[in-house]
C-alpha cells in the first residue's frame, strides 16, 4: 500500500525547495521579459534558490506571465495552464499582466492575466524590478504551508474527484436506477 500523504509531503517539499517555472509572454512589450530573465541570470541569480526555468509546462510548478492577454494568445495561455500538473501557481509580472495597463480597452486585449486564468501573485511595475520578482517568488513559497493554501489544495482535489466520477458515469453509460442497484450490491457484498 502506497502512503499518498507521504508522497504529497515529498512533492510539497520539492516544490518549496526547487520551484520550476515556465515563462509565457501573453503580449508584453518585452520589458518585463528582460527583467524576468535578468532575475534568473547571475546578477540577481534566482537559480541559487533552486528556481529553474523549464521549456515545458508539464514539468513546471509556476507559470510566470507577462503582458496583457490578447485575443491571439488567450487560447494558448489556457492550453499551457491546463497542461501544468497540480499544484500549479501563476505569477503576473508587470502592470499590463496585473490589470491590462495602458492596453486595457484596446480592440484586441481582454485585460490582465486574471481575466483568463486565476493568479496567485501580482507584481506591479513598468517594468517590474528583479528585486520585486525575487520577493514575490519567496512570498509565494512561504504561503505553501498556510492553512488557506491547504484548503485550496483540498478543494481542488475534491473538484477533481467529482469530475472523475462524472466521467466514469458517462463512460459506463448506465441509468441512475442501475447505478443505485449496483451500489446496493457492492454495499451488501462488503457487509457479507
Amino acid at each position: 500500500m502506497i502512503d499518498l500523504d507521504l508522497i504529497q509531503k515529498a512533492i510539497d517539499w520539492g516544490t518549496k525547495k526547487s520551484p520550476w517555472i515556465i515563462h509565457f509572454n501573453a503580449g508584453a512589450c518585452n520589458g518585463c521579459d528582460i527583467e524576468t530573465v535578468d532575475s534568473l541570470t547571475p546578477r540577481f541569480d534566482l537559480e541559487r534558490l533552486g528556481v529553474i526555468k523549464q521549456g515545458s509546462p508539464r514539468h513546471a510548478d509556476i507559470l510566470v506571465c507577462t503582458g496583457a492577454v490578447t485575443l491571439q494568445t488567450r487560447e494558448r495561455l489556457i492550453q499551457i495552464y491546463e497542461q501544468m500538473a497540480e499544484p500549479k501557481f501563476v505569477i503576473a509580472i508587470g502592470t499590463c499582466a496585473c490589470t491590462g495597463g495602458i492596453f486595457d480597452g484596446c480592440y484586441c486585449v481582454t485585460g490582465g492575466i486574471d481575466s483568463v486564468v486565476p493568479v496567485d501573485v501580482y507584481i506591479p511595475g513598468c517594468a517590474a524590478r528583479p528585486e520585486a520578482i525575487i520577493r514575490a517568488v519567496s512570498k509565494l513559497l512561504d504561503t505553501l504551508d498556510t492553512p488557506e493554501q491547504k484548503e485550496k489544495k483540498a478543494g481542488k482535489a475534491k473538484k477533481r474527484e467529482k469530475i472523475e466520477d462524472a466521467v466514469k458515469a458517462q463512460d459506463m453509460n448506465i441509468s441512475e436506477e442501475e447505478k443505485e442497484a449496483r451500489n446496493g450490491q457492492e454495499d451488501s457484498g462488503d457487509e457479507s
Partner: protein
C-alpha cells in the same frame, strides 16, 4: 544641386502633375502630396524600374474622414527616403498592391487590409494578420467610426447602438 533636388527635378520632369505637390521637407526626406490611384501606380513603377529605389520600408495608414491615406516610404542606395502618399475613398478602398515589385511589403499591406479595410489587388492570399482568426468581417478597428466598447470579445460580435439610442 544636391541629390534631393535632383530626384525632385527628375520626377517633376517625368510627371508634370507633381509640379507643386512634391517637396524636400528636410535633409534626405522627400514628401509628395495626395496622389490618386493612377498617379501613384505610374510613379511607383517608374521609381522602382528606372530610379533604382529598390527598398520599401513601411506603409503608414491614416483615417482622413472620407478617405484612407496610405503613405509608402521607399529608398535606394543614397539613403534618401521618398514618401508617396496615396489617397483612396473609404467607399471603394481598392488599391493596387506593390508586392510584385517590393516583396517585403506583403506583411505591411496585409496589416492595413485588416486594420483599415483597404483592398489590395494582387496581394498573395494568406491568413489574416495581425487580427485573430474568427474576427468578424467588415470590422476595421483602426477606423475612426469603429468603437471598441461596442465589440464583444467573448462572442466576437460588434453591436453598435442604433441611431437615436446613442446619446446619453
Amino acid at each position: 544641386m544636391n541629390r534631393e533636388e535632383e530626384i525632385v527635378g527628375i520626377l517633376v520632369k517625368k510627371f508634370p502633375f507633381l509640379q507643386d505637390r512634391i517637396s524636400v521637407k528636410k535633409e534626405k526626406r522627400i514628401f509628395t502630396g495626395a496622389l490618386s490611384r493612377d498617379e501613384f501606380e505610374k510613379i511607383v513603377r517608374y521609381v522602382h524600374d528606372d530610379m533604382n529605389l529598390f527598398r520599401a520600408h513601411h506603409v503608414v495608414g491614416t483615417d482622413e474622414g472620407e478617405n484612407i491615406g496610405l503613405l509608402y516610404i521607399l529608398s535606394g542606395d543614397d539613403n534618401i527616403l521618398l514618401a508617396l502618399r496615396e489617397v483612396v475613398p473609404k467607399a471603394n478602398p481598392a488599391v493596387k498592391s506593390i508586392s510584385d515589385m517590393y516583396a517585403s511589403i506583403v506583411l505591411h499591406e496585409r496589416e492595413l487590409a485588416d486594420l483599415f479595410g483597404a483592398v489590395f489587388e494582387g496581394l498573395p492570399e494568406g491568413p489574416s494578420y495581425p487580427l485573430p482568426d474568427g474576427w468578424p468581417k467588415g470590422n476595421y478597428p483602426l477606423r475612426k467610426e469603429w468603437n471598441p466598447k461596442y465589440f464583444n470579445k467573448e462572442t466576437m460580435t460588434y453591436e453598435p447602438p442604433k441611431e437615436g439610442e446613442e446619446k446619453e
